[in-house]
C-alpha cells in the first residue's frame, strides 16, 4: 500500500500509477455530480459549461446556501455510487474524467472504461460529511443552478481524503476482491455456526 498526495486536475500518468489499496489525498479542483446532473448531461444532451478533463468527480448532493452571488457550504457528504453506473463510462470516455469519488463502488462497465482511458474509483469514508465539508475550501461555481441540489458543482479542496483506491486502471476491483474473499471463507464460517 502506497500513499499519495496529488494535485488535481490529474494526468493520465499519475492515475496509472495508483493501485487498488493505495491511499490518496489531494488538493485542487473537484466537481460534484449526482443522478440528475448526469441525466441532464447524457439523457437530455447538455454539454457541461466547463471542462472536466483530468478532474475528479464526487457523487454528492450538497447542502449549500446562496449569499448574494456567492455559494457557501453547509454540509457536503457522499452518496452511494452504484446508481451512477449507467453514466460513468461515458463520463470517463467523453469528458476525460480521471477519478470518481464515492462509496460502494461501480460495476464492470466503469472498470473497463477506467482501464481503457486511465481513471480510478476512489472510496471515501461514508458518513464523514463533517470532515469532507471541512476539506472543501470554496464553492467556486455552481453550473445549472436549476438542478440544485443535483447541479454541477465546482469545489476547491485542500487535503481531501483519505481516499482508498478501490478500482484501478489495471482492472483491479477491491470491493469485488473483498467480497470474493468473504464468499470463499463462508463455508468454514457456516460450519462453525452449525448452519
Amino acid at each position: 500500500m502506497a500513499e499519495y498526495h496529488l494535485k488535481s486536475p490529474f494526468s493520465e500518468e499519475e492515475i496509472r500509477k495508483l493501485r487498488a489499496g493505495d491511499i490518496v489525498t489531494f488538493d485542487g479542483l473537484l466537481f460534484g455530480i449526482r443522478d440528475l446532473t448526469q441525466i441532464y448531461m447524457f439523457d437530455q444532451n447538455h454539454e457541461p459549461p466547463v471542462s472536466l478533463a483530468g478532474a475528479p468527480c464526487i457523487h454528492t448532493a450538497p447542502s449549500l446556501r446562496k449569499a448574494g452571488d456567492k455559494w457557501e457550504k453547509i454540509c457536503v457528504g457522499t452518496t452511494t455510487s452504484t446508481r451512477m453506473e449507467r453514466f460513468t463510462p461515458e463520463l470517463i470516455r467523453r469528458y476525460g474524467v480521471r477519478a470518481i469519488i464515492g462509496k460502494g463502488g461501480l460495476y464492470q462497465g466503469s472498470l473497463d472504461a477506467m482501464v481503457k482511458y486511465g481513471a480510478v474509483y476512489l472510496a471515501i469514508v461514508g458518513g464523514s460529511a463533517a470532515l469532507e465539508t471541512r476539506q472543501i475550501e470554496e464553492v467556486e461555481a455552481v453550473y445549472w443552478e436549476h438542478l440544485h441540489p443535483e447541479a454541477l458543482y465546482q469545489f476547491r479542496v485542500k487535503n481531501f481524503g483519505p481516499l482508498t483506491v478501490a478500482m484501478d486502471s489495471h482492472g483491479r476491483h477491491l470491493y469485488e476482491e473483498v467480497k470474493a474473499e468473504a464468499v470463499r471463507r463462508l463455508p468454514e464460517i457456516y460450519k462453525k455456526l452449525g448452519v
Binding site: 454540509c75 461514508g126 463533517a130 470532515l131 481524503g161 477491491l174 471463507r185 464460517i189 455456526l193 448452519v195
Partner: protein, 293 residues
C-alpha cells in the same frame, strides 16, 4: 396536568433530533476506538482515522456528522406517574422534528413515495415514526430520538422461515445479509436482529436492537450467546470498514426476541451505520429536562 407546558416536549423533540445528528453517543465512540485498536489492515485503519477526525470536527463545530439527516424516529416511554396527554405529545414530536429541520437548518430527507416531492420539513404522512411504550414506577416522559439514514436502512431484510428450518436458518440469514450489503450501510456499525413475533413485529424488534447502547448484551443468556457467535462470524468474513477489507466488519450484533406463532420462525435484519446516532430527553412532571443518549 393542565399546568404542564407541552412546549417543553416540542423543544425536547427538536433538540434531540439536532443532538443526535451532531453528537455521537459515548458507547459508540468507545466501540469505534476498541475496534480501531484491534484492526490490523492499513487501509481499514485509515478509515477509522477519518471517522475519528469526523467526530472531532462535529464536536468542535457543532455540525452534522453525516449529511443524511435520515427519517426521524421517536421512541416514547411514559412513566405510570407522569401526567400525560398522548395526542399533545404526538403533535409535539411532529412539530419538534419539523422545527429542528427548519431552524438548524438541515436537509429534509423525507419525501412522498409516489410524487417524490420533499416537503422540506422531515415530516409528512406517517412521519415522524413514533413508538409508544409505558413504564411502571416512573414519573418521567422518556424520549429516545434516532435519525435513520438510508444507506443502512436500504439494506433491511425480513424472512418468514418455518419451524422446520430451525435456529440455523436464522443465523445463516443474518450472516448472508451482512455479506451481501457490503459497503452500503457504512460499516462497521450495529447489526440489529429481530427474531420471533409477527411479520411487522420482527422488523420492529430489529430496529429496537440497533437503538440499544453498543455492546449491551441481551439479558437472556441464550440470546446473548447467539449475539457473540454472530459477531464473531461476521467479523470472520473480512468485509471490513466501508467494505474495503479488514478485521472489523461490525461493532456489535444486537438481537431482540418476542414469542411467535407455533408455525412461524421469523427473522429480520436492520443495519445501523457507524454513526449510530441517537439522543435522549428525560422530562419530569415539573418540566425539567435531562438530555443524554
Amino acid at each position: 396536568m393542565k399546568d404542564f407546558d407541552y412546549r417543553i416536549v416540542e423543544e425536547a423533540a427538536k433538540q434531540t433530533y439536532i443532538r443526535a445528528l451532531c453528537d455521537l453517543p459515548p458507547d459508540v465512540r468507545a466501540a469505534l476506538k476498541k475496534a480501531y485498536d484491534r484492526e490490523t489492515k492499513p487501509t481499514a485503519r485509515s478509515v477509522f482515522e477519518a471517522i475519528f477526525r469526523t467526530i472531532e470536527i462535529a464536536d468542535r463545530d457543532k455540525t452534522l456528522i453525516c449529511q443524511d439527516t435520515g427519517l426521524p424516529i421517536y421512541k416514547v416511554k411514559i412513566g405510570s406517574a407522569f401526567p400525560w396527554n398522548g395526542a399533545r405529545i404526538k403533535k409535539c414530536l411532529y412539530e419538534g422534528a419539523k422545527r429542528a429541520t427548519l431552524e438548524f437548518p438541515f436537509r429534509s430527507s423525507s419525501t412522498h413515495p409516489l410524487t417524490r416531492v420533499n416537503p422540506q420539513t422531515s415530516v409528512g404522512v406517517g412521519l415522524p415514526v413514533i413508538y409508544w411504550d409505558f413504564q411502571e414506577d416512573s414519573d418521567t416522559l422518556d424520549i429516545l430520538m434516532a435519525p435513520k439514514g438510508s444507506g443502512s436502512e436500504n439494506m433491511s431484510k425480513m424472512q418468514m422461515f418455518y419451524p422446520a428450518h430451525g435456529v440455523k436458518a436464522l443465523k445463516k440469514f443474518v450472516l448472508d445479509a451482512v455479506v451481501e450489503s457490503g459497503a452500503n450501510p457504512c460499516p462497521p456499525g450495529i447489526i440489529g436482529v429481530g427474531i420471533g413475533g409477527t411479520a411487522d413485529l420482527v422488523v420492529k424488534l430489529a430496529k429496537d436492537a440497533i437503538l440499544r447502547p453498543v455492546g449491551r448484551r441481551n439479558p437472556d443468556p441464550q440470546i446473548a450467546a447467539m449475539e457473540e457467535e454472530l459477531e464473531e462470524a461476521i467479523n470472520a468474513t473480512g468485509r471490513g470498514p466501508m467494505g474495503l477489507g479488514g478485521d472489523v466488519s461490525t461493532l456489535a450484533v444486537h438481537i431482540e426476541m418476542a414469542y411467535t406463532h407455533i408455525t412461524q420462525n421469523p427473522v429480520a435484519v436492520n443495519t445501523q451505520c457507524w454513526p449510530a446516532r441517537r439522543a435522549r430527553a428525560v422530562i419530569r412532571p415539573d418540566g425539567s429536562v435531562e438530555y443524554g443518549y
